[in-house]
């Protein structure tokens, strides 16, 4: 049957089974390929999006659970204050390598900063340990989040 999902501010009607994970609706049905497939079991975080602002693993989120919700993906997170700061910090710290996990990392980091503007190291551990980076960019991710938080506190 058809489901209505609101993604990046736009309503879409998609005709898929109700248990179809959001990840495949984004990537294969709507062509929003910035959100990545890594494990299919919420073990790696590559597929992280925001559902009503909360970091959510789209690979285990069925489309029928999204009625009335707002989904934000990496393609639009730069329009949020926290998302833009995180993206800039990622560039300033040269975080990316292969880059495949970084959409998910940025979504997790942006959700963290939106809810916890001045995260401690423990907050960062808690929010980011669900996101695997096979290139091991963890040190730079931590530093970039701290910079983004700093720029937030300066009102910048």
């Amino acid at each position: 049957m058809a489901f209505n999902v609101k993604i990046n501010g736009k309503q879409h009607s998609v005709d898929v089974d109700e248990d179809t994970p959001l990840l495949w609706v984004l990537r294969d049905v709507l062509g929003l390929t910035g959100t990545k497939f890594g494990c299919g079991m919420a073990l790696c975080g590559a597929c992280t999006v925001h559902v009503d602002g909360v970091a959510t693993r789209s690979c285990v989120t069925p489309v029928n659970a999204l009625q009335g919700s707002e989904v934000t993906t990496i393609e639009a997170v730069g329009k949020t204050v926290a998302g833009a700061r995180v993206q800039k910090a990622w560039l300033d710290h040269e975080v990316v390598q292969c880059g495949y996990c970084q959409s998910g990392q940025i979504m997790s980091a942006a959700a963290l900063l939106a809810s916890t503007p001045k995260p401690t190291d423990a907050d960062i551990d808690g929010a980011m340990s669900g996101n695997v980076c096979r290139c091991g960019t963890y040190g730079r991710i931590r530093e970039a989040i701290k910079q983004a938080a700093q720029s937030g506190s300066k009102g910048g």
Partner: protein, 718 residues
């Protein structure tokens, strides 16, 4: 590449969303359409259009290592353009133009070779283009070329203040004869090389616009996923696909001899269809295979003599007369690559041609693999190269392209075949299992006077590049076991090629050295402990004839605070190596909890990789390779039972995570030597450093990996 092929490459690139052309277009260069195909292309790496577009063609693919920044730096330095003036394009498959001279001419990105292979030729490529552009300007102005110079994409005639942009000179420059070689800059004049230039691929990787192979979406594409025989060498005995076909969105089931694929509108339907398949497998000859069986075969093999890789002095005699003898056996497990982008390949087979969309470390081999399966001549197969979401050697293999093309032959229209994570891990080609025997003799002062090392394992080169396997040896299997930086008066190293039945093996970040450096540096630590000497001092005494190795070891030890007191349960371990053309020493600081769990707290690295092209990339690669190695040391193990790989996803094949990652400091030794490789050395160096640190913390020597916390438990274990 012929003009026709290039145009076709560009056209299809644009039609499918632009791929790299889109994603890597820099803001300053304007439009996103495929263009920049100009009249001036003095070599395979530089093209300048009359519109002023400067296109650099990347012979080595970007998979995180920063080659799409470092290679442009080499060209731009000599071409006299800034990095924000260039556009990048993936090289098409063509071994004549883009073969890697350090990998026997195979068009391969691997072995940490890209900078070593490019250092001279790609600076030449830039310099030749610049020389011709200057010549064209000089001719137009009727002045001597020596009176002109190039700067930021323009030729200047300082005496008259005239200038012309490269685009305006492209047509004229194209008419001039191309010199074979021109003088290169003196390194003291470098403006780009040696600077921490920003990664050119980063902006597209933070906003979701970077296009990886898995993101290819040619019009009408269907998505497929697959189940391959759970035992390597098995076959499909029978198939009931009725339930799978009933899944909404499933379009087709493709049955192959040893695999079944479900073709659907989207991956959700394909996975659901796959779960609904009832497949009865004939497991074939390896149905009862276990890892223990493979390990026993390797152990048994090392009882006989192998091919001699290196021999110095008379090791047998020196051993017989040594004051102390030390003996040990070591073993290392199979490992999966687990790149975060799962295996995937998109193929459209038609009667008269074939398109392949994939990220590959071997573009020409990938093209040939598709041509072979599709039954088409090479020139009918268009390969669209993509960014790779982690290579680590996995994409040096073409099994994924072969499999996807086998499936695509049965599908009308393009099909993207995506491996589930479980298929990716259980049908990888694995870093080999190795078994090692070592003996050493020490003199009365504890110095090593004899070193005897014999080991058995798979030779990847023998399969991947057969001419590279000679007289029982290949360069990778013994890399890091021979030509040690240490001065050892008597040394003997033997290798036995033993292929595991039913388990395909392949390159993996650092491959040969990931094994040999672990064994050599662990055993060296054992010798120091036997001699009751400090591990750093013990090594330094053996490095008199290797000043670069000595310097990195001294630097790493000093920066790490070697010798300073540590709390109970915490230890420091060291390693030093010379592999991939670079010298690297690492000190790991490790904490072992009472329950035996291990945390790597801090890593200090010192590297001499010759002239540094991009210091930030050197740092990034050591950080990356170090965490990759720690993952292997703490968690990495693929085991086989009943012929099946037991691990399947990140719950059973664990990755290091952010809360476990150490702080990593990298110190670079200034050098004027030719550049060495940087993608892999950190992985081989860190594993023995961690094992040696665990020994320092607990007194327990780890002779196999990964770390087994049960072995390290102490007290009541709480």
């Amino acid at each position: 590449m012929t003009d026709l092929a290039r145009r076709s490459f560009l056209r299809t690139g644009a039609a499918t969303g632009g791929g790299l052309l889109l994603s890597l277009t820099l803001p300053l260069t304007g439009g996103a359409q495929a263009a920049g195909d100009g009249p001036f292309a003095p070599n395979a790496f530089v093209r300048i259009g009359e519109d002023g577009r400067i296109v650099l063609v990347m012979p080595y693919v970007e998979m995180g290592q920063g080659t799409y920044t470092a290679i442009p730096m080499l060209i731009a330095e000599e071409l006299e353009v800034t990095l924000n003036q260039v556009r990048l394009e993936h090289a098409p498959p063509d071994e004549k133009l883009y073969g890697n001279p350090l990998v026997a001419g195979v068009q391969a990105t691997g072995g940490s070779t890209a900078i070593m292979a490019s250092w001279q030729p790609l600076r030449q490529a830039g310099a030749i283009a610049r020389t011709l552009l200057i010549a064209a300007a000089a001719k137009r102005w009727n002045v001597a070329p020596e009176a002109c110079r190039a700067q930021a994409g323009e030729v200047l005639h300082p005496a008259t203040g005239r200038s012309l942009k490269y685009g305006a000179l492209a047509a004229d420059a194209a008419k001039l004869p191309v010199p074979k070689e021109v003088a290169l800059k003196d390194p003291k004049d470098f403006k780009i090389i040696g600077t921490p230039a920003k990664r050119l691929d980063a902006p597209a990787k933070v906003d979701g616009s970077a296009v990886y192979g898995i993101d290819a979406r040619p019009p009408g594409v269907k998505i497929a996923t697959l189940a391959q025989s759970p035992v390597f060498g098995g076959r499909v005995k029978s198939l009931d696909d009725a339930a799978a076909k009933a899944v909404k969105g499933v379009r087709q089931i493709v049955r192959l001899d040893d695999a079944v694929a479900v073709v659907a509108d989207h991956m959700g339907a394909a996975k659901k269809g796959l779960a609904a398949l009832k497949i009865d497998w004939d497991d074939g000859p390896h149905a009862k295979l276990t890892t223990d069986q493979i390990a026993r075969e390797l152990e048994q093999a090392t009882l006989a003599a192998g091919a001699v890789a290196e021999t110095i002095g008379d090791t047998a005699k020196a051993l017989a007369s040594a004051a102390t003898k030390v003996e040990a056996t070591y073993q290392l497990p199979f490992l999966a690559h687990a790149a975060l982008e799962p295996m995937n390949c998109t193929v459209h087979v038609r009667k008269d041609g074939c398109d392949v969309w994939v990220g590959t470390q071997v573009a020409a081999r990938a093209q040939a693999a598709a041509a072979k399966v599709a039954g088409l001549p090479l020139d009918k197969v268009v390969l669209h190269q993509h960014l790779i979401g982690g290579g680590f050697g996995r994409r040096l293999e073409i099994d994924g392209v072969t499999r996807a093309t086998e499936i695509a032959r049965h599908v009308d229209g393009p099909v993207k075949v995506v491996w589930t994570r479980e298929e990716d891990i259980q049908h990888d080609m694995y870093r080999p299992y190795w078994f090692d025997r070592l003996q050493a003799g020490l003199d009365e002062k504890g110095r090593p006077v004899a070193w005897n090392h014999r080991f058995a394992g798979s030779s990847i080169i023998a399969r991947w590049l057969p001419p590279g396997f000679n007289k029982g040896l290949d360069p990778d299997s013994v890399d890091g076991a021979i030509h040690l930086p240490y001065g050892l008066p008597n040394m003997h190293v033997e290798y036995l090629r033993v292929e595991p039945p039913g388990i395909p093996t392949a390159f993996w970040r650092s491959v040969g050295p990931s094994h040999n450096v672990f064994v050599v540096e662990s055993f060296m630590d054992e010798l120091a402990a036997t001699a009751k000497q400090d591990p750093v001092a013990y090594r330094l005494a053996l490095l008199e004839k290797s000043p670069r190795a000595k310097a990195v070891l001294e630097l790493a030890a000093a920066k790490a605070g070697w010798g300073q007191a540590l709390p109970q349960g915490v230890g420091r371990g060291v390693s030093v190596q010379h592999v991939f053309g670079s010298y690297l020493a690492q000190v790991a600081e490790v904490e072992v909890a009472k329950n035996g769990s291990v945390r790597v707290r801090r890593v200090v690295a010192a590297v001499d990789c010759g002239i540094v092209v991009n210091p930030d990339t050197v740092k990034a690669q050591i950080e990356s390779a170090t965490n990759f190695g720690i993952t292997a040391a703490l968690y990495g193990e693929i085991t086989v039972k009943d012929g099946r790989v037991e691990q399947s996803n990140f719950d059973t094949y664990q990755m290091l995570r952010l809360d476990e990652a150490p702080s990593i400091e990298v110190h670079i030794v200034k050098s004027s030597q030719a550049p060495g490789g940087m993608g892999e050395p950190g992985t081989s160096a860190i594993v023995p450093a961690v094992a040696n640190a665990i020994f320092a913390a607990t007194g327990k020597r780890l002779r196999r990996m990964p770390v087994d916390p049960a072995q390290l438990k102490r007290g009541d274990g709480r």
